[in-house]
Amino acid sequence: MALRILMYFGLLAVGWFISSKGLIHNNLMKKISGIQAVILFGLIYVMGVRVGMDEQVLSSIGKIGLTAAVFAVVTVAFSIFFVYLLRKKLFSDKRITGGSDD
């Protein structure tokens, strides 16, 4: 896991370094958002393929699917709620908080 984290950090750092030094051509900079979108949707598609092919998911989905779905929704909902409370208490910079003020 440590190696994986280092690799992700390294990729972010290399991208940041060459971009901050102005080594990326302007034409490429303009296209980066589009390229990212293509790779992103490709990644989501492949993730879907993996779910569709995974025998463990398919064989267990009928039996314990509802339990797992409730677990997923409840844990995500409370994580979001706790961070929401934290944001209201500690953060004000709009570039970081985004969202609404209410």
Binding site: F9, M29, I32, I39, V51, V57, V83, I96
Partner: protein
């Protein structure tokens, strides 16, 4: 964006179920790794083009470290609620909840103790990752940027990072990565602790 994500995901699931031969499965992990590496590199390029990111993060300071803490606390609280809903063993429920989207690891640790609980953990965290993919754009728009990290949890440092960056701000990319690393590390500690208490 949510609709596009849902369409890509649904198309993938249908392809995996009916079209793509099973032997391809072994290569999909590599495909995802390559795609993810490219995306992280491009996120880095995006970050480098904004000179103000680090100064604005400096202003926020160590408070950002509270975000993974709140995310983890929320998940564990959700685990307690689920143990009441399903009348399950409290620590078993907490072990499932502390997987925080990292489905492979949580299931591997839990399965030797209980195969059924391990499968619940696996499926819960698969669903949690899918929920994050689908709802991050809506959460960013309707609730707030920091809450997208709570939705992604452990995947905020890898597969979730490009979606979070695309729907929030460049400052969030740095916070998301740091939070994702902390949450992932916590999974390796919390799941074995709760499994030991079952």
């Amino acid at each position: 964006m949510t609709k596009k994500i849902l369409a890509a995901l649904a198309l993938g699931v249908i392809s995996g179920l009916f079209i793509i031969p099973q032997k391809i499965y072994a290569h999909t992990g590599l495909m995802m790794d390559i795609g993810l590496c490219l995306l992280l590199f491009f996120v880095g390029i995006d970050l480098g083009s904004n000179k103000e990111i680090f100064s604005s993060l400096k202003k926020v300071g160590f408070k950002v470290l509270m975000i993974p803490v709140a995310t983890i606390a929320g998940s564990l609280f959700g685990g307690i609620i689920c143990s009441i809903i399903f009348k399950m063993d409290l620590f078993g429920s907490l072990a499932v909840a502390s997987g925080m989207s990292w489905y492979t690891l949580s299931a591997i640790i839990i399965t030797p103790v209980s195969a059924e609980l391990g499968t619940v953990a696996f499926l819960t965290n698969v669903f949690r990752e899918i929920l994050a993919f689908i709802f991050i754009p809506t959460i960013a728009k309707r609730i707030g940027y920091l809450e997208t990290i709570a939705a992604g949890a452990a995947i905020s440092m890898d597969t979730g990072l490009p979606i979070i960056t695309k729907n929030t701000s460049q400052e969030l990319a740095v916070i998301s990565f740091i939070s994702g690393v902390i949450i992932s590390l916590s999974v390796t500690v919390l799941v074995p602790i709760f499994v030991g208490l079952i």
